[in-house]
């Protein structure tokens, strides 16, 4: 089923190109994207400035002058389109061999840090405990990072607790807040305005500009949440600061 997935290639202006499988959030498609990402990184000539994987698409941002030199008589876009098709055709069927990192993330689900837990409990007619259980029993995949530095879009949230975004986004969501939007779950690396339903908070630092690898999470990572008490949260948080 995965081989020969149809895709579309389109330009993002004169210095960007996207390969897009289309459709919805889909783990298998995202694994293909991750595999493409790995192959493109290996190929990556100096002319490619950025490779940006997303849910079901991957984009290259490039230096037009440098790509044009590689392209010769055809346009830079035509050259990259050809190259993307070539590399896409190398994708192997068995993508389960890819090794992803697994990250354990402690989350405190205490209502003092989870302002939307009550609302979600009412919405889904579940207890707080049930919502938390359902949230932590899943292993999530980091589908992509976007919106702000280090913000990981993860899925797939169990349908029993999947929830629409808030109709009135908050002006301030604290850093570390764990939220749900549709079947996505994510963690705010910075204090920010935000519309996701907040069900907890992690004491971990998601983005540390002073580290060589500034983000805790990367596209393709596997993530598991585990529940900690308010006391443990403060203890860990103090250690972080």
């Amino acid at each position: 089923m995965l081989q020969n997935t149809p895709y579309q290639i389109y330009a993002i202006g004169d210095q960007g190109i996207t390969l897009d499988y289309g459709g919805e959030m889909n783990e298998l498609l995202n694994k293909k994207i991750f595999q493409l990402y790995t192959l493109l990184k290996k190929w990556q000539p100096e002319a490619i400035l950025d490779i940006i994987p997303a849910y079901h698409s991957i984009s290259l941002i490039y230096d037009l002058i440098k790509v044009k030199k590689l392209a010769g008589t055809i346009t830079a876009y035509q050259f990259l389109e050809m190259k993307l098709r070539e590399i896409e055709a190398q994708l192997i069927g068995d993508i389960t061999v890819l090794v992803n990192r697994t990250k354990e993330i402690p989350v405190c689900y205490d209502v003092s840090l989870a302002p939307d837990l009550d609302e979600l409990a009412k919405m889904h007619q579940l207890s707080h405990e049930e919502i938390i259980e359902i949230h932590i029993q899943q292993t999530y995949r980091v589908y992509m990072i976007g919106f702000m530095p280090g913000f990981a879009y993860m899925g797939t949230v169990d349908d029993r607790i999947a929830s629409p975004r808030k109709s009135n986004p908050r002006l301030q969501v604290p850093a570390g807040s764990v939220g749900i939007a549709g079947t996505q779950t994510g963690i705010y690396p910075f204090i920010s305005p935000g519309g996701w339903q907040i069900i907890g908070q992690t004491p971990l630092v998601l983005f540390d500009a002073n580290k060589e690898n500034p983000t805790l999470l990367e596209p393709g990572d596997q993530v598991r949440f585990h529940k900690i008490s308010l006391e443990e949260f403060h203890h860990l948080k103090n250690k972080m600061d």
Partner: protein, 325 residues
């Protein structure tokens, strides 16, 4: 050995050609808004083109040169004066020590660039000196400049400049900013626009709203409608992506854009038109003109060739000038 900010401007920061290689981690490339003006600023003083420059809006900072320096001002014309004497943009200037640079009047454009020979010593983060306001990194402590900030020069020589002097050559920039036409190409969701909206996009003027900044220019004008409502999962966007917001108005993403977005991408400004767009001020209008992808590539390549020629000419002139000194 440097310049001192003696009065802060509203939004002055150190920028270079951007921080690439980290968008997969959600880190935007940032960098100067007007890449042509920044390139010319560096070219005029003989710098590497990726050297960081000072980007200033109006009202701009008032600057004291504590030591002498060769500088250039490009982009906007804010009526620059040094020690009360009018100075020209797009021309190298020899500035004696203890000179004061101030900007008196917004005449043309919205961002002025200041380069100094050999560049500034500023904070580098992930390979770039561009100021990242969100992460507080790069430039000067990752923030806008404030009073008493000192930007140190990399060049530590005493240049022995006694008189304020314009060097006798200049870059002609008129062709870049001569009108309000912004070339764009259709974005992937362009075909979803109603035919009448596709037409509106190129037959109406759109005003740059005062809610515009380094992240994006919000446009005000004729509402644009989609024939099919489409929710997109986030995909990469870039400098120049034109998105249609739920209120039927457009936003053009600028240098500090988010790395990914989910709003319909109805167009993309040609890279060769971005410098012109960057110099449009809030309240002014633009007119979009549809071009093909091939045209966009050709225009950009021509522009880069012109800049290359300018660079060669400037380097030659600088060598000749200082040989004869």
């Amino acid at each position: 050995m440097g310049l001192r900010i003696i009065k802060a401007g509203i939004a002055d920061s150190i920028q270079d050609m951007g921080r690439y290689g980290y968008q997969q981690l959600g880190i935007p490339p940032g960098g100067v808004m007007d890449r042509i003006a920044a390139t010319i600023a560096n070219t005029l003083v003989g710098n590497h083109l990726k050297e960081p420059v000072l980007e200033m809006h109006f009202p701009s900072a008032t600057i004291l040169f504590e030591t002498s320096m060769m500088i250039a001002l490009t982009g906007a014309d804010f009526g620059a004066e040094i020690n009360g004497k009018e100075v020209l943009i797009n021309q190298p200037i020899l500035v004696p020590a203890l000179s004061e640079l101030r900007f008196t009047k917004k005449k043309m454009g919205s961002k002025v660039y200041l380069s100094v020979e050999d560049g500034f010593e500023t904070d580098k983060w992930l390979g770039s000196n561009s100021t990242s306001f969100q992460i507080h990194k790069g430039g000067i402590e990752g923030r806008y400049l404030v009073k008493n900030d000192v930007l140190y020069f990399k060049n530590k020589e005493d240049l022995e400049i006694d008189l304020l002097t314009h060097l006798p050559w200049r870059a002609s920039m008129s062709e870049f900013y001569d009108n309000n036409r912004i070339n764009f190409m259709p974005g992937v969701e362009y075909p979803l626009l109603e035919k009448i909206s596709q037409n509106s996009m190129v037959t109406n003027d759109f005003k740059v709203s005062n809610q515009s900044n380094r992240m994006g220019y919000r446009l005000e004008g004729q509402a644009l409608l989609l024939s099919i409502k489409k929710e997109c999962l986030s995909t990469a966007v870039s400098f120049g992506t034109i998105q249609l917001l739920p209120n039927a108005q457009m936003i053009v993403l600028m240098a500090d854009h988010q790395t990914t977005g989910g709003y319909p991408r109805i167009g993309q400004v040609a890279t060769s038109s971005l410098p012109k767009l960057a110099q449009v001020s809030a309240g002014e209008t633009i007119r979009f003109e549809l071009i093909t992808h091939e045209e966009a590539e050709t225009l950009f390549i021509q522009q880069q060739q012109n800049l290359q020629q300018l660079q060669n000419a400037c380097n030659f002139r600088l060598q000749e000038y200082f040989k004869n000194e």
